[in-house]
Amino acid sequence: MNVTIVDYQSGNISSVINSFTEVAKGKVNLEVTSDINKIKSSDKIVLPGQGSFKSCVDSLNRISGLVDTLKDFTITNKKPLLGICVGLQMFADIGYEEVETKGLGWISGRVSKIDNQKGKFKLPHIGWNEIEIQKESKIFKDIKNKSHMYFVHSYEFIPEDKSVISATTDYSSNIVCAVERENLFGTQFHPEKSDKIGLKIIDNFLKL
């Protein structure tokens, strides 16, 4: 199996590479690239994302043909894609970090700043928080409800169709922290930094 981590020059993806490399060892052929042809021929894609919504979207758009290739891969050909952090947020139609920015529009919804109740909750939401699993999910196989995952973010994805939500976490309100729709997966938390339990999620994705 060939799995591609999309390297689109946005943020730090070393940890994603390290964790996937650890889990993929000897089982999966892992590529880190933005080469359109390699992406097209992979079986699965990982879309990381760090920094602001705008900077990630801009970086994707800077690579000619990348957005269309990703769309064909996941929407038309229905092959598995996992978005992590801003990688997930970009599934939305629109994001409001820095300035209003158009997202990929794969799952209708918006990305807004977490309502921290006038300073009652510190932002960024940094650290380990429990996830509340909302529906059966292929990437949560053997993951117990209320497992701890590592979060670092100030913005949240609010999808229109609530049935895509696979997990939430409690921080000021119930924040969407994982979505799943057919072949499309996303986590707001960082499985690559979430200790053994996070590696298990990566393993589940690689085994799909």
């Binding site: 070393s14 900077s55 940094i126 928080n129 973010h153």
Partner: protein, 252 residues
């Protein structure tokens, strides 16, 4: 519910873990990669490396340590010491650090905080503030591992770095560091009440009760400690079980 983090800190000098008493007398506490792995396997919520004598000649050593550690530890890794340029940050992140901690360079030029957080995102920019009490209810920022006085008020500076995009503040009390007499809770309280980003308490931990004080009395989101863990007095697990028994929520 968000859990309070326990962060073992590895002070690294010339590739070895050391812990000083008030930043001066250093004692060898072992191999950094090995230690980081032990902590990560033992339930540390995050691992922090501080390259305490970071000079330009030494930078490759810490980068190599980060590279090796990042391949074995799958919890967040923060690295600080001698971070002065955007290139320094890039190098550390590429080696596998998740966050970098900036001290002197942020004091010298607060725009550097802005530039760095804009380029890499606030989530990976930690500002390390070394503060020393100068009079009643007043603390001043020190730099260069506590050697240089700056005249800058610590509370004002904390607010300023927050405005400029810092994601977290690693707050060390210079008076307490290495004394094992507990965090400077007044300083912590003052900074946690004046800012709205997570504060990591540092400097002075000698008992598990001190961790409790940092979180409950000081309002810290995370507690950092070095020597109580290095010399095997306590395991991370002991600290977590203790805090949990006192109704402080931690990741068990």
């Amino acid at each position: 519910m968000l859990k309070n983090r326990i962060i073992p800190c590895l002070d690294v000098k010339n590739g070895r873990v050391v812990k000083g008493i008030n930043f001066v007398e250093l004692k060898d506490a072992g191999d950094p990669v090995e230690q980081a792995k032990i902590y990560s396997d033992g339930g540390a919520d995050e691992i922090c490396f501080l390259d305490i004598t970071a000079s330009n000649e030494n930078r490759d050593t810490i980068i190599e340590i980060v590279r090796k550690t990042a391949k074995e530890c799958f919890v967040p890794l923060t690295v600080g010491g001698g971070v002065r340029t955007i290139q320094n940050i890039t190098d550390l992140l590429l080696a596998g650090a998740d966050k970098v901690s900036i001290n002197t360079a942020a004091v010298k030029n607060v725009n550097f905080v802005k530039e760095a957080s804009k380029k890499f995102g606030s989530q990976c920019i930690v500002i390390a503030i070394d503060a020393k009490k100068v009079s009643d209810n007043k603390w001043e920022v020190f730099t260069h591992g506590g050697r240089n006085k700056t005249g800058i008020d610590a509370v004002e500076f904390a607010k300023k770095v927050e405005e400029n995009g810092a994601g977290e503040i690693l707050l060390t009390s210079m008076d307490k560091d290495g004394t094992k007499s507990g965090y400077d809770v007044d300083l912590l309280k003052k900074i946690t009440n004046s800012t709205n980003i997570p504060i990591i308490a540092s400097g002075g931990v000698g008992t598990l009760d001190h961790l409790y004080d940092g979180i409950v009395k000081g309002g810290a989101s995370a507690v950092l400690a070095a020597s109580i863990f290095h010399y095997g007095e306590y395991k991370i697990k002991d600290a977590k079980e203790y805090l949990n028994s006192k109704n402080v929520s931690v990741r068990l």
